[in-house]
Symmetry: C2
Subunit: 428 residues, 2 copies
């Protein structure tokens, strides 16, 4: 395929005319498809239905330690579920607090606690003139929304295929006392699907923060969410590396089973140092008497152990691969060589990140919408919803069926082409 | 029985000698009983076991509106569960947000949100020099712990049999702009078991707060937790009364099924005005994508409606009545006329509140503990854990069996007598 930028005006106009014909055909179909959010599809949800039989009226409701999960107690989670999530995250059980149904909620609470009560005794962030967070971009909109909500200044850090620009991260963290945190999705990143290299993780662990209350918010949301059996990304254990580097309290790890069992009815966890856990308990013990331990028991009994989790994730992968490949194959086939966009083939996670020609993302998303295909809003992957290049588009291929994904991607590619041609013709 | 205070020194010494003999007998038994916390007993938990069969792998997982409870969505709760909890609280469904497993958590979040982001646009409380809460006493220790944690000054308000001292409440609320809230358990109060009269509720609704961001934290924890069929307390609808009085946004109502279904695995709710709900959503929508909707569905399907809830609560009452009566009968029999303590016979709720002679509560709790009977720490029912009279003791009769309750109450009464005698002899 000829690169669009090398086409003459006549070639572009001819191309445009053809694309507009295709557009009319798509319009006529009256599609209604949604690639906006990372929602599991119905067939994935079905995988976990047997979990609902594990705890029934005849079940033994006691934990392995003999505590009744139906009553108050075990504020930090029942032992067997702490073990399960510790193995999922790759840390020691003693470093894990199992919470409720949402790791986002733990992150929000962690930021709020730091705002009002500081970090392990530091000055509450709300008493400071300025608090800043580093935000590898493109990233997860809901992370950015938390820091935006609390008036925390967000600084874009380019995210490369091996992780964030660590020179820049070091420069900020090691020199600016107002920098109190960084949002990371280290494995199968949302939305790029990339995984931090060992060197990047090591450099994170070896930061020399100017602020003693600087923390890495390590959202390992996709820790076991591989798409393939044979090529699986792994990351270095950040908690261990931080310990080794003399920064034992520098990282909070978050994870959940939202995309393992049920979104909204999973279990979530925070993993961190003992000292951080003690500080968290001071407030979590005031906030709640405990989380839903029956649901924790349900998860522990159903998955049994990390092998059970991994076997379950293989079934997810079998459902998700065709959807991802439907998108990727169409992108390969339709756009390779056109030089109007780039994308990374992820080996796990929930998204495909597409970079359009600068200045085209909003127009592409709007055009898709006019054809009945809803994408995540352009800019959503950047702090304040502002993508300075107006280039990045997050594709969430998990919820639609593979057939719907094909339809949606065909429309997407058509819109990319058309907007790009218009841009090159000076019409955008 | 002769009033202890009217006994001669000789009579007291003789009484003491007899009590000390009894004490030795109790010591020898090596009891280990806990009346400290309002935990449902095992037979109560058993009542809800069939709930665990309602949602199984064959169940229709869609709400009445056709939303899949397994996936993301319905941040404010599924319709049928909002309806159920609205009927339980006695408000309109549109005024209810169903949340996770803990109403305490909603209260904590509500205070924290006000600290960091203010109330419907007011100055965040953390930016103010002084924030005060009124605390009817004796009250719920976990309420007080929330306000204490955030450095909110707590002011004791006497709680009478018909509710808080409303003259005092009006005086503070209507004149002091720093007074931002009041903790209330309006029905079967924790720990006194008393219920606010219609006049008290009306006076609450008709407050003229000096602070526009003053809110009533109305923890209707025991709204359907009657002990008797024939005598049931009811309270005026505070949300409606506030509307009528031109104070539509002045109250947050909290409730949960923690002591209906399972502590830790129930559903909780906040009921308030539409304007308050809109403000809450701004932050709750950042905090979480949604609460556990499968558990909401489980509750809605199992209880069906308010009649189902009430029928279920009757079964709880049948279990609880003998436990309450075991305590009350012993108190009546052993202490009437001695004038060394007073108590109220509750018609619902989870506690019996005992007022010992001033200066005796700590000693009684300590003596009970030395005999293997754990009570809520003396002072716990007061802000900062300080009961100025050292008089109030909260008895939680729900968790032990009726037989254990009898043992525990016998020990309790013995300790009350002995400490009172020592006090009158000048030994305490």
């Amino acid at each position: 395929m000829k690169a669009y930028k090398n086409m003459s005006r006549e070639e572009l106009l001819a191309l445009k005319a053809g694309l507009e014909e295709e557009l009319k055909l798509e319009e006529a179909k009256g599609l209604s498809l949604n690639m906006a959010r990372g929602k599991p599809g119905v067939s994935q949800l079905t995988l976990s239905m047997p979990m609902l039989d594990v705890i029934n009226s005849k079940a033994d409701m006691n934990t392995l330690l003999g505590n009744d999960t139906r009553n108050y107690g075990d504020w930090d989670g029942i032992g067997e579920c702490r073990r399960l999530l510790a193995d999922m995250i790759g840390v020691k059980k003693d470093n894990v607090i199992v919470c409720g149904n949402s790791s986002l909620n733990i992150m929000y609470d962690t930021v709020v606690r730091s705002m009002v009560k500081g970090v392990n005794g530091s000055t509450p962030w709300c008493k400071l003139d300025k608090v800043k967070f580093l935000c590898p971009v493109p990233g997860y909109d809901r992370h950015f929304k938390i820091t935006e909500t609390f008036g925390i200044e967000m600084i874009n850090i380019p995210l490369y295929e091996d992780g964030p620009d660590m020179d820049l991260v070091e420069q900020y963290v090691n020199n600016d006392e107002a920098v109190k945190g960084i949002w990371c999705v280290p494995k199968y990143s949302n939305p790029t699907g990339t995984t931090y290299s060992d060197e990047v993780v090591w450099r994170f662990a070896n930061l020399k923060p100017k602020a003693e209350d600087f923390r890495i918010f390590w959202d390992n949301a996709y820790c076991i969410h591989h798409l393939y059996d044979d090529i699986q990304d792994e990351i270095l254990n950040i908690l261990e590396e931080c310990e080794k580097a003399g920064n034992p309290n520098m990282v909070y790890i978050f994870a959940s089973t939202s995309k393992v069992s049920f979104p909204g009815s999973g279990v979530s966890a925070i993993a961190t140092s003992k000292e951080n856990m003690d500080y968290i308990q001071k407030f979590m013990g005031v906030q709640t008497i405990g989380h839903d331990k029956i649901n924790q028991l349900r998860h522990a009994r159903f998955f049994k152990n990390i092998d059970g989790l991994n076997a379950h994730m293989k079934k997810h992968a079998e459902i998700l691969r065709p959807k991802f490949e439907a998108v990727l194959n169409t992108l390969d086939k339709e756009l390779t060589g056109a030089e109007i966009g780039s994308w990374i083939k992820p080996r796990g996670g929930y998204f495909i990140s597409f970079n359009a020609m600068p200045g085209c993302a909003k127009a592409i998303v709007a055009k898709c919408k006019s054809l009945g295909v809803v994408l995540t809003g352009a800019g959503a992957t950047y702090p304040y919803g502002v993508d300075p290049d107006d280039s990045n588009i997050r594709i969430a291929p998990t919820f639609p069926t593979p057939e719907e994904m094909e339809d949606a991607t065909r429309v997407f590619v058509l819109c990319v082409k058309l907007v790009s041609v218009e841009k090159l013709l000076g019409e955008q």
